[in-house]
């Protein structure tokens, strides 16, 4: 019998960045060896769980671990926030999926992360740094309390611009503000990598379009298998339709139809809301009956 089928994949460390964002470091030496910047995994947290795609935030080949940063927004991710403690196991973890990011010969690069997207842009920043590029990191958060990994980026990037919506840290404004700042200071930026919510990536693509900076975005649409079989993740890129799981997840941000992507992300919205509602209700019931309570 396959070990993985029985045993699952152990969570070896966990860090909570805020009341919604948390980090899991999972033991999987083979995956840690194979992972490259830009790739993702599919996780199933429990036997009855759904398969959710998560971009690989980091990997440590010596420790044999991969790092995932998760935002508790729906039923599955909130359940993971509640249940995935050090020593617990994920039922399924498969990857690395997708075509690795192409870290080419760019000499000066913007690595832009918005919210949760800050995590997956880290391996890219490190990759570019290792290839000898001058790396400008731009990180966006709603406020100071939601910030994470500023230290990691400071250690990797040649320059770092932090943006918060309310100005509680760094500059006040969106990451697009940071991009404008960087572009005005550096006239020779070759490439921009932007990862975050679709609306943020759309903004980034717009911000770089006029200066003609090649802009790569990482898309995370609804998918089931992650191996090219369901076609749920099809996205419009220029005139063509691509499957994000096997043709991406990286695409040319200037060609991606973000409006189409945003609508398609709402496909299962009604069912998802119902599931989250039910989950919240169960949590309230538990707290009333004295059962173990969720940290909320």
């Amino acid at each position: 019998m396959n070990q993985a089928r029985v045993a699952g994949y152990e969570v070896v460390s966990r860090q909570d960045f805020s009341d919604v964002t948390f980090l899991l470091e999972v033991q999987h030496p083979q995956l840690a060896r194979a992972a490259r910047p830009g790739q993702f995994v599919i996780v199933m947290a429990s036997e009855h769980g759904e398969r959710i795609p998560l971009t690989i935030a980091d990997y440590d080949r010596e420790r044999g671990t991969v790092t995932l940063v998760i935002q508790a927004v729906g039923k599955t991710t909130r359940e993971m926030q509640r249940d995935c403690r050090v020593g617990t196991r994920l039922v399924a973890l498969v990857g690395p999926m997708g075509v690795p990011s192409h870290i080419g010969k760019a000499r000066k690069v913007l690595c832009v992360g918005g919210g949760l997207g800050v995590a997956p842009v880290y391996p890219q920043a490190r990759g570019y740094k290792e290839s000898g590029a001058y790396v400008i990191g731009i990180l966006g958060f709603r406020n100071r309390d939601l910030m994470f990994w500023e230290d990691k980026f400071r250690a990797t990037c040649d320059e770092l611009i932090v943006c918060t919506d309310d100005g509680s840290a760094g500059i006040k404004g969106l990451v697009t503000e940071g991009i404008r700042l960087a572009i005005s200071k550096h006239r020779d930026i070759d490439e921009c990598v932007a990862i975050g919510p679709p609306v943020m990536m759309k903004g980034c693509a717009e911000a770089t379009r006029s200066s003609g900076i090649r802009t790569i975005v990482s898309l995370n649409p609804v998918m089931v298998d992650g191996t090219g079989m369901c076609g749920g993740c099809r996205v419009k890129v220029g005139e063509t339709v691509k499957f994000a799981c096997v043709d991406g997840p990286d695409f040319d941000g200037h060609l991606v139809d973000f409006d189409d992507l945003m609508f398609r992300l709402q496909r299962y919205r009604a069912t998802e809301l119902a599931a989250t509602e039910r989950f919240n209700e169960n949590c309230r019931m538990r707290s009333l009956t004295g059962q173990p309570v969720v940290a909320e």
Binding site: L31, A34, M44, E50, V94, V224, C230, K236, F263
Partner: protein, 507 residues
Amino acid sequence: MPGDARPKKKTIRMIPQARTPAHEQDPAERACNFDEVNLGYLIEDAQLEAERCLMCPEQPCVAGCPVGIAIPDFIQRITARDYRGAYDVITATNLLPAVCGRVCPQESQCEGSCTVGDTLEPVAIGRLERWVGDMAIRERWSNVPYIQPSGFKVGIVGSGPAGMACAADMAKAGCEVTVFEAFHEPGGVLKYGIPDFRLPNKVVDAEIAKLEALGIRFECNTLVGRLFTVEQMVEEMGFHAVFVGTGAGYPSFMGIPGESLNGVLSANELLTRCNLMHAREFPDYDTPLQPGRRVVVIGAGNTAMDALRVSRRVGAESVRCLYRRSRAEAPARAEELHHAEEEGIEFHWLASPVELLDDGKRNVRAVRCIRMTLGEPDASGRRRPVPEAGSEFEIEADMVVYAIGTNANPIIGQTSKLQLDQRGYIATDASLATSIPGVFAGGDIVTGAATVIEAMGAGRRAARAMKAFLGLRDTDHLYCDAAVEPGSRMFGIDRAERGFARIRVPR
């Protein structure tokens, strides 16, 4: 002594004239559940149907079977009430009788060439095979032969029918076999694709357990190509031979306007959510499925039938099938089509979609279609559908499912140097060897979408070639041919062959 001679040769007039019907769930009832539709035979049904085989000397059914099961032989054993014997005969060539008895298109294979079929309805070979397979599962029969370890490690990529068949043959040849599967459960299309009412997942699990009993290991959650490459398997991981059976799972769309609207999805997505991920049991399972009230499925193959019938079962009010040719050309098995009709599926033959219409909120509202007429036969031999000018009409739909075929899965092609053909399928020679020595491929990833039994047949053919490659003894393979130098023969056997006792001759 008279009367004690050989049994008289059966004639068509001596056998039961009517084909024994299988027990089936009532259409009205089954359209609301996922229990199996075809309940199969009882012992007396099997006995009666076995009587119908003429035991003709030509045995066209054996030639009609892609894996060449000794069909009259196993039927003969049913008649003799030697059921275990019947199972042994089938499993000598086909490891998964309970699966194949359910999902093979028998009408175009064994039953299609049955002699009885020239005059009456052919012998229900598929139902008999399934009956034997089910009995084996119930009685926990499995044929685990004595296996002499050969010392070879074999890796199989993909745990679908091709991979399973290849794995079984290689395990029996003494190899240490590991099957890699990207999903969290093994079985491939048998699990994610074919719904429970046609092939219950527990039947697939039972068959997989038999493969595990042969010593085969299944490693799930393993995406070969990305976690490690086929080249790494051969060069670094110590696999002496590799079989790639990753299937043709990449779904096709038509490229008409409106395909990115919400409510438009591939049959693969619908079926995977419902079958493997249990979306139909939401909220007990987390995977969502927004079932449509008015569903349109495009295509009329087996996958389309599955999508139609699944949609019906998850509660759609109307379920319609759109196909650009007529019923006669529909590629689905006759039984599936018949079952779908019984369950109240509406068929719109000779109609093709030209546009999917928006409700203003990016959800699909209707399908605009055009009527077709059949013209001259095309390359596939079927009459080419030609659109009729000015015949456009609309069908209301809040869910549109594409079941118009699939393409090669691209991952192995992206991650290895295996040579592909022009359409992206893996290029092989007649023995299913690929461009990398020791790597073989078979099933849909070589031929394009086909049937379960054809994939199994390919898995077995590849296994024969792998055995020859490894120098393992195989009754199908003649080692000592003229090409072998006399000096490298011993007692007429090629010295390169393994699995026979070696004798050292003193110099």
